[in-house]
Amino acid sequence: MVSLNLFLALAAILFCIGLYGVLTRRHLVIILVSIELMLNAVNINLVAFSSIGPFANITGQVFTIFVITVAAAEAAVGLAILIALYRNRSSIDVIKQDLLRW
């Protein structure tokens, strides 16, 4: 029996890598990919608790399916925005996207 803590540690590592990517990379596509990584870290958590958590039940797995579905939709919308942005600004460098400032 693999300890729950190992899964949680894996999820935490994955989440931090994703967060690091979101906060440091300048390319918007990479940022989107990093967000997917963070979502997957959450999914691992949900599945882990669902199967070997103190109150194991199916809800966590169902919720994971939801997250994957929503993530797919979000990726589609995100990429669409990204393309629109590129068409307008000829760049998807996140540092240059600073129109909304004081």
Partner: protein, 619 residues
């Protein structure tokens, strides 16, 4: 008609509203409307007076406010006292309105002038008709306002604007006293109604000290309004207003409101010997004090102003020595002959193109015969020469003082009689006798609208005394005191009449000896110190400036600085802090997605760390 006496003040009010709304268009019709309304009021007042003489007191009130168990009412009341006042006020007001038509003819704002004048008449009549002290106080403030507006009518003259302010502020001191007195009286008796409040006082429901305090507070109001020492300083300055205003407001009616106030609240004063003594002494001191200043002043209107202050002092003196009828009788006769003197002075001023310095007059007897004769009648009346009005009323005042028996008061009253005759005849001689010293070519009479009011007032000044003299058994006394218990009214005998006549003749004779030729007497060289003191009005204005005005100004300037730097500083400081913080915080809003993310993450971590640290989950 007596049931409809409330219509009397409403007529001038209607005229005021018309002039207020359409004065500019009416222009030439404005005086006519005003005169017509006041004439209507005069007719009604005469009818009311006749009915009151033949009938009884009438009062009608409606409930205005209910505060807890107390009803505050509004209404009107026609008593012997105020029916007489109604007649005097409307009569003088009517004549002044007529007189002003010519006096103010060249003024482009004549409709405004008549508007104020009618509004004043309304306020004064309202004051007189008031059946309770609260209503009286409201109208009391209104007449003060009108006085302010009319003194400052030529506001573009700095002296006039200053005088208006001074009049308003100095009388304000008295008004505060009056208000405090009213509140105390209400507190002690639970009513503003004359009858109910005085009944409570007479029934001994109010402690003796309290009655004295209330009476003195109310008297303070009277001191301010009637320009008694030490609040007399505003009245001479108020002469900067147009002369008809001086005649109406600052001689005949408004300044007499103080005397009227003491008269309507007389039971309070009778209940307090101290208050009565204070009234008597204030009046006596004012009478001599103002008369002495009038001896040397060289402005025709200011001499009359000081004379007014002095005569009001005599009225107060009479009231203070239990001479209820004497004080009011003198009020009535004084209203007529002082209005006459002011209007005659106005006639002279008009003829001389608004020059008021008597050293530049003289010799007008032949040039302005009607004015001169009426002025002489006024002079004789105020000096108390038999058988003019002033003789009878002054004799009544002296009788009251004599019956009171206080030697100091008797001396002061006698001295005032001499001084009054002296300064009035000095004024008369300087203006009308000798040779003309002015630079205006051929001064002459100003037409019927000026002379007719003078003649009418002169008739009053001669005859008004006959309502209260031995041959008709002192009729006024029976009328005024019917149903009232204000004690016995003193009557002077032949001896007193002879003495008072002698005193007046002495004053007049001395004036004739010194000024009979209309020229300077040379007194200022003979007694320079006295002359200087009088000419500078005992330095009262300077003393007030040094003791009150200047320290107050210094304090005010200090407060301005405190306000500017500390209060405003605190407010501005708060503003500046917010502004700077906002500006700095705004710079953090740089549009960088990742910076926001970093800050959020850092904040989230800090929050979690804090929660864990507090709850000890790390343990």
């Amino acid at each position: 008609m007596i049931q409809n006496a409330w219509l009397i003040p409403l007529l001038p009010l209607a005229a005021f509203v018309i002039l207020l709304l359409g004065g500019r268009q009416l222009k030439q019709a404005a005086p006519v409307i005003a005169i017509a309304s006041v004439a209507g009021a005069f007719v009604l007042s005469s009818v009311v007076l006749m009915e009151r003489i033949g009938g009884d007191t009438f009062a009608a009130t409606v409930r205005w406010l209910t505060i807890g168990p107390v009803d505050v009412t509004m209404g009107f009341e026609v008593t012997a006292l105020n029916s007489l006042m109604l007649f005097v006020v409307t009569a003088v007001s009517l004549l002044v309105h007529i007189f002003s038509k010519r006096y103010m003819a060249e003024d482009g704002r004549i409709h405004v002038f008549y508007g104020y004048l009618t509004f004043f008449t309304f306020s004064m009549l309202g004051l007189v008709l008031a059946p309770n002290l609260l209503q009286l106080f409201i109208f009391w403030e209104l007449v003060g306002l009108c006085s302010f507006l009319l003194v400052g009518f030529w506001y573009f003259k700095k002296e006039a604007a200053d005088a208006a302010k001074k009049a308003f502020l100095v009388t304000r001191i008295g008004d505060v006293g009056l208000l405090v007195g009213l509140v105390l009286l209400f507190n002690a008796t639970g009513s503003f109604e004359y009858g109910a409040a005085f009944a409570a006082v007479e029934a001994g429901e109010v402690s003796g000290t309290m009655v004295t305090v209330i009476a003195l507070c109310i008297f303070l109001g009277a001191v301010g309004k009637s320009a008694q020492f030490p609040l007399h300083v505003w009245l001479p300055d108020a002469m900067e207003g147009p002369t008809p205003v001086s005649a109406l407001i600052h001689a005949a009616t408004m300044v007499a409101a103080g005397v009227y106030l003491v008269a309507v609240t007389y039971p309070l004063f009778l209940a307090s010997g101290t208050a009565l003594t204070v009234v008597a002494y204030t009046g006596a001191i004012t009478a001599v004090f103002a008369a002495s200043i009038a001896l040397v002043n060289t402005d025709i209107k200011r001499v009359l102003a000081y004379s007014t202050v002095s005569q009001l002092g005599l009225m107060m003196l009479a009231l203070g020595t239990a001479g209820y009828v004497a004080g009011l009788f003198h009020l009535m006769t004084h209203a007529f002959f002082k209005a006459l003197l002011f209007l005659a002075a106005g006639s002279v001023i008009l003829a001389l193109h608004h020059r008021q310095d008597i050293t530049r007059m003289g010799g007008l007897w032949h040039r302005m015969r009607t004015t001169a004769v009426t002025f002489l009648i006024g002079t004789l009346a105020i000096a108390g020469i038999f058988p003019l009005a002033g003789f009878w009323s002054k004799e009544a005042v002296l009788a009251a003082v004599w019956a009171n028996g206080d030697v100091v008061l008797i001396t002061l009253a006698a001295l005032t009689t001499v001084l009054t005759a002296f300064y009035m005849f000095r004024l008369f001689f300087r203006v009308f006798a000798g040779t003309y010293r002015g630079d205006v070519e051929a001064p002459a009479e100003n037409g019927k609208t000026v002379t007719v009011p003078l003649i009418v007032l002169a008739v009053f000044a001669v005859t008004a005394g006959f309502v209260h003299f031995p041959l008709n058994g002192y009729w006024l006394e029976g009328f005024m005191t019917a149903g009232l218990n204000y004690g016995d009214q003193a009557h002077g005998g032949l001896g007193l009449a002879a003495v008072s006549l002698l005193l007046a003749a002495a004053g007049a004779g001395l004036a004739w000896r010194l000024y009979g030729k209309g020229e300077e007497s040379g007194m200022q060289e003979k007694v320079p110190a006295v002359h200087h003191l009088l000419e500078n009005k005992y330095y009262i204005d300077e003393i007030y400036a040094a003791v009150i005005v200047r320290p107050l100004m210094t304090l005010s300037r200090l407060f301005v600085e405190v306000d500017r730097w500390i209060i405003d500083g605190a407010v501005n400081f708060t503003g500046a802090i917010t502004f700077r913080t906002g500006r700095q915080a705004g710079k953090q809003h740089n549009g960088q997605l990742q910076t926001y993310g970093l800050v959020s993450v850092a904040g989230g971590i800090a929050l979690i760390a804090a929660v864990f640290a507090v709850r000890g989950y790390f343990g």
